[in-house]
Amino acid sequence: MTTDIVLNVVLLCFLVVTGLAIARLRNLFPVAMLTGLYSLLSASLFQLLDAVDVALTEAAVGAGVVTVLFLATFGLTRAREKPVPRSRTVIGLVVTSLTGAALFYASLDMPHFGAADTPVQTHPIRERYLQTMQEEVDIPNAVTAVLASYRGYDTLGEVTVIFTAGIGVLMLLGVSRRRNPEDRHDDHRGDS
């Protein structure tokens, strides 16, 4: 238990330091790297909370795929942040502080971590998902059973959202349609 607390505190300190570094840096290449580090630290925190599914996704998407996509984007745009006038940074600081304070105030109403009398522990649906599920679906991983069976519609929606988002990106970047004619055009220009 104490190691958990120590690890949590250390990881959260690293998160804060990484966040501050990201805010201070103007060159965006290290920012992309630090964003990946931030995701990796978040993944470790999720792992400490026993949310292994979320940790896996965060590590692969946040630390891996998104970092690479950021770097690929810098190949297309400038990799340096434009200087921002001081008045606007002050406004940003005020808005961030207010949002942070509101979230902190809201978190005071949340039940303590691991408390036994929360709706998560006492609601009847818990018994349904964790006990009746063993007779109805009979697999050890309750997350998979809830995700794909009890909430099958929901997950179908999620997959459709991912699919639609992918189509949207492909349409915007237009790789499939424009590649052949434009390549030929480029080659032609290179020759002349």
Binding site: L76, I139, N141, V175
Partner: protein
């Protein structure tokens, strides 16, 4: 990146184990943490690592972008199709009980098939997006 021998060797060593691990997350998702989403992103991450080191051309030859568009749609189709099959067999949409003669068996089958559809779509979409970005950067360099 042809000159980076260390990166090339390490990549060759770890890409295959990552792919196997992704398949394990995919098909062992009923028993251990993981499932289609997680397996999809891990699989795609391994392929992206391969593309980064060995170049988009070799990656495109291994997995053509056109095939990815087909598999992305196929994943959603497998998921929704499982629901329709359940309906045809007399159950409700996505009611896996109807897939086999006994309900628990049907649930097992349904979960496995549906998660496979999820994984297929996630891999295809992430790789397509990555190809789209990588392709544009390359074209700009050339012109």
């Amino acid at each position: 990146m042809h000159e980076h021998t260390v990166l090339r060797i390490i990549t060759k060593l770890i890409v295959a184990p990552i792919l196997i691990f992704a398949l394990y997350i995919q098909f062992h998702g009923d028993y251990s943490p993981g499932g289609g989403f997680q397996a999809g992103v891990v699989f795609a991450a391994a392929l992206i690592l391969y593309t980064l080191i060995f170049g988009p051309d070799r990656a495109r030859r291994a997995i053509p972008p056109g095939a990815l568009r087909v598999t992305a749609s196929l994943g959603v189709l497998i998921y929704a199709g499982t629901g329709v099959v359940a309906m045809l067999r007399g159950g409700h949409f996505l009611d896996y009980d109807a897939l086999a003669h006994d309900a628990v068996h049907g649930q097992h089958m349904g979960l496995l098939i549906v998660e496979f559809g999820v994984g297929l779509t996630v891999v295809s979409v992430i790789l397509s997006v990555f190809y789209a970005f990588a392709g544009r950067g390359r074209r700009k360099d050339r012109s």
